[in-house]
């Protein structure tokens, strides 16, 4: 059935291209959405690949994965998911090759079990936000004043869950200029009948003394426990440290990246957006004289983070290295997907 295969391959290519376009446009709906879409593509890729050894499959998945990653090199989540799936392939193969003898048998059962394991992983991702939200009563207390920045779906779910349990608390939302995602967050929280106040970034220092804790989301967690989070998070964490307020990071485990922030030249760490939010393009005189940088992410060093609230429960930052070793295989990580 070569024709059917060709159709399938084309269909897959089209799906990948669509996703890459979406990444380029930046229209995806949050990191969970990106993770699920990536994993769906990977399941398709695996199911369409003919392979005899696990090495073939790993190479193929890594190559296809790098095409997806090319859509947005700074989107760690895609890389994380690919690494996690590669690790699943390795584990499954080891298990099955121990149980079976002939190669034909192995490759036959391998595909099915890999797809099953990956689907399980997908279910885990889908449940992440709910799992984290369920932890709310342990960390948000009556009459707490909680500070957050920008919009995170996980944090939003956490607050809503706490409110649904009848806990009365106040949330301060920093608006997160220049993209103002905080406005959306404040609106959503207020609609859920949570006592919400929207503040600007420059007010963070003023309100910090009367805040009980800082609860933030993050884009991803680097291998040393540092955060890659929206711009403004670093200054927020520094101020929290200064006044000894705990910074609690809500993050699903798939956001944990095996890469380090390491150097400022880290190609895929930050993303710089258009200056149009900050400077008017029509202003001819200013335009040629100033250089505007609009980084989307901040790096928050690990010592500013108190703990990570994940779908596997609360984790101390110092334990992140161990999790990285559990989740990822060093051979996959050392050879970056995008080279």
């Amino acid at each position: 059935m070569p024709a059917g295969d060709g159709d399938k391959a084309n269909d897959l290519k089209e799906r990948i291209a669509l996703f890459v376009d979406e990444l380029k446009k930046g229209t995806s709906q949050g990191s969970c959405d990106v993770a699920i879409k990536t994993i769906n593509l990977l399941i398709r890729i695996i199911s369409q690949t003919k392979f005899s050894t696990e090495k073939d499959l790993i190479r193929h998945v890594a190559a296809e994965g790098s095409k997806i990653q090319a859509g947005d090199p700074s989107e760690n989540i895609i890389g994380n998911i690919i690494f996690r799936v590669l690790k699943i392939i390795r584990d499954e193969w080891r298990e099955i090759s121990q149980a079976n003898d002939t190669e034909a048998q192995i490759s036959h059962t391998l595909k099915a079990s890999i797809i099953e394991a990956v689907s399980e992983f997908k279910t885990e991702i889908e449940g992440c936000v709910d799992n984290i939200a369920a932890l709310a009563p342990n960390y948000i207390n009556e009459n707490d004043v909680v500070l957050t920045i920008g919009r995170s779906r996980t944090v939003e779910a956490l607050f809503k869950h706490a409110a649904s349990k009848g806990i009365k608390f106040q949330v301060l939302v920093s608006e997160c200029a220049p993209f103002y995602k905080g406005h959306e967050m404040a609106k959503n929280l207020a609609q859920a009948k949570i006592n919400t106040t929207l503040i600007t970034e420059c007010q963070i220092g003023i309100v910090m003394p009367r805040v009980n804790k800082v609860v933030i989301g993050t884009h991803s967690i680097m291998a040393n426990g540092g955060l890659k989070a929206v711009t403004g998070t670093n200054i927020l964490s520094v101020l929290a440290k200064e006044t000894n307020k705990p910074v609690i990071v809500c993050s699903s485990m798939y956001k944990l990246s095996p890469l380090f922030h390491s150097t400022p030249k880290h190609a895929s760490f930050n993303k710089f957006a258009t200056p149009s939010e900050i400077l008017d393009y029509e202003d001819a005189e200013l335009l040629s004289k100033v250089e505007v940088m609009a980084p989307i992410f901040d790096y928050v060093p690990p010592h500013l983070v108190y703990m990570i609230l994940s779908n596997n429960g609360a984790q101390p930052v110092s334990y992140v290295y161990r999790l990285v070793k559990d989740f990822y295989h060093p051979d996959d990580v050392e050879q970056p997907t995008n080279s």
């Binding site: 269909d11 291209a17 090319a70 190609a267 200056p275 001819a284």
Partner: protein
């Protein structure tokens, strides 16, 4: 019946697939010596072909069907599209190249399109050199809603972006004035302006509409959403050449046809057209400063296998670049893969292509280097464009605004003057952009050139002992004349801070120079290699602005003599002049250029004397200009034509050497007759033409006309107040 119709409409709505038409040809020669080998749509802008930006912009707009119309060197574009990612399986849109070799204007393309009836729906009309990060589907939706709703007769929505006059990305030639109706955003008046101080607004607009907005703060993005009827309108009006013609035609005939045009102003997003070197420069800078996000080097480079790293101060480095210790990439630099940069080299504001080799202690500023460029040690390059395979040997200094076309070699140890345009082979007379490439046989063909072989050799004194470089002179078909206007890239942009007014004047002078040289293939040979310098004048008097057709001139003079004896009315005289113009197939500029001279010859003839600086002749010249002032004003309407006329007077004076002292007088007569405006005279006076010969000549003329200019300036100061009063009316 009604619900049924509605259902059908809904079905159509679902079937709607967005189409786009890309015109991958500019139909002009703004990129003069470069586009003879590669069409403009494929020129690299920050290392990516221009067409790719356009196609990406269409892809993010959700376009499904793209037709790329290729004319000049269309094979290359077709080949490029064939290899592109759009032809791979799974591409979200289909790109179909269409070859139209015979088309000479955008109007031709649209007429051809109508004949093939490719368009079923509203479509996006765009040229192949647009950079945009805008989702056009929104605007298409607006347009559709408008045409389905209350304004069924809307045929086009034009896109504009706010950019104040003087903005770097605002193309001077495409600068527009327009009037929109406040609420409906309907376009009421549209006019291109080079730089007029006064704007004419048809009074009907003011009378008929209560709510109008006059705008001069918009930049034309050259993107339009068209109704399917547009191609057929082009067929109906075969004289529409450009989109501007179309827009004007629609606006003028609005009452008859009922068609309307609307505008849409882009907020936050970016869209601009690379229409000349100056905008090429500005848009490159915008891309580097990430205005076009997500189409920035570190994000789009990755799709064709190239990984760019973004570093501080807008420096983008490809992964496999060799940087020697001590080289300094200061800011706004892009370096393509495989390039090596030597010790002590300082680079700022540059785009460097693939596999370039840059030596030690080189200074590179605001320049564009395409692929495989070699620059040897100790060169100093400022604001230049170096095409692929250019070699700059050691110790060369390149001044502002230089363009080195494909495979040019210059040096060692020379200084290239600002504004020089060089190509690697001798320019052939019969070449222009519409013709096919002759890039295949790069050896100069002896048979085809009747000029002596000496001119085939490069000028080693000017361009270095090992050079392979020939100056490029612009050739323009007379059809293109109205569009002809060239921005003097580099010189004008760099000086704009210090003296904005003069910068503009130099641009205009350049324009008129370019204009004058049209249809004059001998000019190149005369000016450059021989350089006959008249010691007394300090310049070559024979290198006049325009070779005039003597037979035509004679006939024109006779017509005037007859007219003055037989008292023929102005209208008839104009008819006669126009028929002469057609009979001798001379361009309109030549007529304008000749008119002042003819009037003087006429004055001499009336007094039955030879042409000398005689008071009688001068007074009758003055009388003649007064008598024919209405006629002159018919021909000499705007700034450009006035400049042509001034050049005519000057060259006439130079031809008749004993008339030199009378130049102020002649200019004064024309000024008094309201033929020349003082703004234009001052502009001409302040301009600085390129080329040493031209510059010398201009200096000489300046000296001659000084008394008149002084008088004019004084008069201006006195009359400033009254001018203001005029402006208020």
């Amino acid at each position: 019946m009604a619900p049924k119709a509605k259902n059908r409409n809904e079905d159509l709505e679902e079937e709607f697939c967005l189409q786009a038409v890309v015109i991958a040809d500019s139909f002009n020669v703004r990129f003069g010596p470069i586009t003879y080998k590669k069409p403009r749509a494929l020129l690299p802008l920050v290392n990516i072909p221009l067409l790719d930006y356009t196609l990406e912009a269409l892809a993010i707009s959700g376009v499904k069907d793209v037709f790329v119309f290729c004319c000049h060197l269309g094979d290359q574009i077709r080949e490029h599209i064939r290899k592109s990612k759009w032809q791979e399986g799974g591409s979200p849109m289909t790109v179909t190249p269409m070859m139209l070799d015979s088309c000479r204007s955008m109007g031709d393309v649209l007429r051809e399109m109508d004949a093939k009836s490719l368009i079923r729906n509203d479509f996006i009309l765009i040229t192949g050199d647009i950079v945009s990060n805008m989702d056009l589907s929104q605007i298409v939706k607006e347009h559709r809603e408008r045409t389905r709703g209350k304004d069924k007769s809307s045929v086009m929505t034009m896109l504009f972006k706010v950019a104040l006059p003087g903005h770097r990305s605002r193309c001077k030639e495409d600068s527009v004035h327009l009037i929109e109706e406040g609420e409906t955003k309907r376009l009421l008046h549209f006019e291109k302006c080079l730089d007029q101080r006064k704007v004419k607004v048809p009074s009907e607009i003011l009378l008929e509409h209560d709510d109008i907005i006059y705008r001069n703060d918009l930049m034309d993005c050259q993107i339009s959403i068209c109704s399917p009827i547009v191609p057929s309108l082009f067929t109906d009006n075969f004289d529409f050449l450009t989109r501007e013609n179309f827009v004007k035609g629609i606006l003028e005939n609005e009452e008859i046809t009922g068609y309307k045009i609307h505008i849409s102003i882009i907020q936050d997003k970016y869209a601009a057209r690379v229409s000349n070197l100056q905008t090429y420069d500005a848009i490159s800078k915008d891309i580097i400063a990430r205005w076009t996000y997500p189409f920035v080097p570190d994000m789009c480079g990755s799709s064709n296998g190239e990984r760019m790293q973004y570093e501080r101060h807008n420096v983008y480095c490809s992964a496999d670049v060799t940087l020697a210790r001590g080289c300094d990439l200061q800011q706004e630099v892009v370096v393509g893969r495989g390039t090596s940069i030597g010790q002590g080299t300082v680079i700022s504001g540059c785009v460097i292509g693939k596999n370039c080799q840059i030596g030690e202690n080189v200074k590179l500023k605001n320049s564009f280097l395409w692929d495989n460029v070699v620059i040897e040690n100790n060169c100093d390059i400022d604001t230049a464009l170096l095409c692929s395979d250019v070699k700059v040997l050691s110790n060369v200094t390149i001044k502002k605004g230089v363009v080195l076309s494909w495979e040019v070699v210059i040096g060692p140890k020379v200084v290239i003057e600002s504004g020089t345009q060089l190509m690697s082979e001798h320019q052939k007379d019969d070449w222009n952009e519409g013709d096919h490439s002759f890039g295949e046989d790069s050896e100069p063909n002896e048979d085809r050139l009747n000029s002596s072989s000496e001119k085939e050799k490069p000028d080693t004194v000017k361009f270095g002992s090992k050079c392979k470089a020939f100056p490029y002179q612009q050739h323009v078909d007379s059809e293109d004349e109205e569009e002809e206007a060239v921005d003097y890239w580099g010189v004008s942009t760099s000086e704009s801070d210090e003296r904005p007014s003069e910068e503009e004047s130099s641009t205009d002078e350049e324009e008129s120079n370019e204009k004058d040289e049209e249809g004059d293939p001998m000019n190149l040979e005369e000016d450059e290699p021989e350089d006959v310098v008249d010691s007394s004048l300090g310049f070559n008097p024979n290198a006049s602005m325009m070779e005039i057709n003597m037979a035509f001139y004679k006939e024109l003079l006779d017509t005037f003599i007859r007219a003055s004896t037989e008292r023929i009315s102005d209208d008839n005289l104009i008819l006669e002049i126009n028929s002469l113009k057609h009979a001798y197939t001379v361009p309109i500029d030549e007529v304008i250029y000749s008119l002042p001279a003819v009037l003087f010859d006429l004055a001499a003839e009336e007094n039955q004397m030879s042409v000398t600086a005689n008071a009688k002749i001068l007074s009758s010249f003055r009388k003649n200009t007064d008598r024919y002032s209405a006629l002159l004003c018919k021909y000499i309407k705007n700034v450009e034509t006035q400049l042509v006329a001034i050049n005519g007077v000057c060259d006439y004076v130079i031809r008749h050497s004993d008339l030199k002292p009378t130049l102020p007088h002649l200019l004064n007569s024309l000024y008094d007759a309201d033929v020349l405006k003082e703004v234009t005279i001052l502009r001409w006076f302040n301009s600085t033409p390129s080329g040493s010969n031209e510059a010398e000549k201009h200096k000489f003329l300046k000296r001659l006309s000084q008394p008149f200019i002084n008088w004019l300036k004084e008069a201006e100061e006195e009359s400033t107040d009254s001018d203001d009063a005029d402006g208020d009316e």
